[in-house]
Amino acid sequence: MTLTTLAVLVPLLPFLGAVAGLLLGRTAPGFVRPLAVLPTLLAFALAVTVAVRQGTGPATDAGTRLTPTGSVPVDLAVHLDGFSVLIAVLVTLVASCVQIYSTGYLRDDPRYSSYAALVSLFTAAMLLVVYSGDLMVLLVGWEVMGICSYFLVGHYWETPEARAASLKAFLVTKLGDVPFLIGIFALGADAGTFRINGVLTAAASGQLHHPTLIALLLLGGVAGKSAQFPLHTWLPDAMAGPTPVSALIHAATMVAAGIYFVARLLPVFELSSAALAVLAAMAAVTMIGSALSALAQDDIKRVLAYSTIGQLGYMAGALAVGNRSAAVFHLLTHGAFKALLFLAAGVVIHAAGTNSLATMSRMRDLRSRVPDAMWTMAVALAALAALPPFSGFFSKESVLRAAEYAAEGHQAHVPSAVGWTVLVAGLLTALLTAAYATRLFLLAGSPPQTRRARQQRDGETSVPAPTDNHFRTPVVMNAVLWLLAIPALALGVTAGKLPQWFDGTSLAPTLATSVLGVGLALVGVLVTYAAWRHTETRANRVPIGAVVAPDSVEPAATEAAAIAAHPQVYGDIAGAPDPADPGRLLLGPLHRYAVHGFGLDVLYSKAFVRPVLAAAGLVRFLDREVVETYVRTAGGVPRLLGLLVRRAQTGNVQTYLSVLLGGSVVLAVLAVLVASGA
């Protein structure tokens, strides 16, 4: 098979799997699991083959034109280069892990067949985006991902949180997609083609007449998809979906699409300094804000969600300084360790019966019950905090190095102010990231001290973990965790090889940024540890938390119950009134704002939702009271007339006949009078 055929098969296999799963889900339940897992695994194997065969060689392009459209043509085209083949490998790897993990995680779920089919479709759409060489085809995959995320986030649609979250995810990303669509049209109109190569050629030869406008419009869609400020608010709420879906969305598919899109079209963005500046500002605000918010969250998955937003901010920052190699490198490592983090969090939530960090911090034996999840999570958190030698260190250093390079004004097209912005924000975020990663680990993974265990005999204040008689994490889930731990641990060593696949710029860490970054991260770790030692003594004084779900049910049901119960137990979906939380001490007065993402949702609600609702109310009033009055009158007058006429309908035939004949006489007289000319 040729390389192109293989590449076409990669998105096609999960798509066919999804179709087959949707069709056979009801009639042949036995086929659902193979249909979910095997196509994705096969696609992974094919993606690896494609990557190996493509190698570091020149980009492969192939395309076919289905039919002339009359204006700018649309091609079915694939474009294979180092970026796309490696991201495809990541996507298929994470998707395979998620599919395997889901067979255990949702083992008893009645809607598993449609869930697995949608995950496959989601994967196929992302692979389409990755391989596509045409903007219109890319847009198809882009929008299919949007609808898949809607369905998957709303998987537990019985709970109001999931319903609201799925709607929000859909609407917010669609809000970004509108300018995105217009931007693509503008790009196509200016370049005369939707082929990405053609667009890039046009950008290089200066054919694009409105680069700033186009870049800003496209950034709208990227901000929506990749959860950048100010359109990031859907991502934390999307935690209402099942954990494997979160892993898929955060690691490989949905949010990566925006970054990948900018990376592909980076020359277009580089034409406009304004767009790069906007991207840098967006990235900086996103990084710092999300890191602060992550420090205040109580829900373990929301911490991870905010950390995703922050890491995406890193990637956007790398793109803003014109280095897409660093951005895609960070995308790859982040995909690996973030998938691992989410999947491990799923195991922990299942074991703890709650998603609240405040409750987990009071459980004595959580670590001993899920040792695999704890170890792998530690690896992933170290990677997240960018501690050497974990993978996150290398990729984050490549970003910081690129920012420093640009700050010194060496990068063409990029103002040095942009570089400084990204560099400072990146360093600050490194500190904060280390802090919240440490907090997460300490709260979820460290048992209460034996010193306090002694005190507990006097007053039982810790929450007993669910009895482990029936508890057993499904083997496939643990296996997947260790599988993912390998890239999370070791992907950094590829930093020396990757430039050959990418643009050729070196990705190896430099001394200055390494020392600075690692130093700040260590500061974050130590400060958080100190704060935790300071606050943990309060933990046994304040009993808090509740285990809401029995652990004998499947993990997904545990999670759904935990999410649904969190607002009822703690009065809030994001935070918990836990004085033992080190984040509370570190953030101080900022804490209450950080919990709710600095009130952005409230602001949106006041600025957009309420006016729209008020306008809807006005329209309803106009319809109900004004328009309907006309309608009612128009109906009422004939009704009254009908009442009058009805009185004549006595049912007595003689009356009818009398009127009929009387009328005939009158008519006859009239006719005679007219005829005789009187």
Binding site: R646, Q649, T650, G651, N652, V653, L657
Partner: protein, 142 residues
């Protein structure tokens, strides 16, 4: 003979029959009045036939036909009246008001109920009709 005599007589007979149709209460009396009207027409037909000296004598032939049809009509009419009387206990035309629009949706109508007895002669609805009737004897009460 002046044509005006038979013509005026026919007109007057017709109008007398008309009055009877409109004013009489008993259905059989209404049928009698219809006979009067038909006869007025017959008189006209004969008179004009004689006046015109039609070679085909269409007027007279038509009169014969009318008489035949009138006989058939009276037979059928009487059968219907009998049936109505048997089902409703009355043959008064001003009480057969099932077609009245009472202003309410299909429900109990004044008289006889919705049982449309003249359409389905076999329906057994004896209770509905006897209450307000001066003529209690019913065909199918056995």
């Amino acid at each position: 003979m002046h044509l005006a005599y038979p013509a005026v007589l026919a007109v007057l007979l017709f109008c007398v029959g008309l009055y009877g149709v409109l004013a009489r209460r008993n259905a059989i009396l209404v049928l009698m009045s219809v006979e009067l009207m038909l006869n007025a027409v017959n008189l006209n037909l004969v008179a004009f036939d004689v006046w015109l000296r039609d070679t085909l004598h269409a007027g007279q032939a038509l009169t014969l036909f009318t008489i035949t049809i009138a006989a058939a009509e009276i037979g059928i009419g009487l059968a219907i009246v009998l049936l109505v009387h048997r089902n409703r206990g009355t043959s008064d035309v001003d009480q057969l008001t099932d077609l009245a629009d009472t202003g309410t949706e299909p429900g109990p109508v004044h008289f006889g109920g919705p049982g449309s007895a003249s359409i389905a002669p076999g329906t057994d609805n004896p209770d509905e009709t006897t209450a307000d009737q001066a003529l209690p004897a019913r065909g199918q009460t056995a």
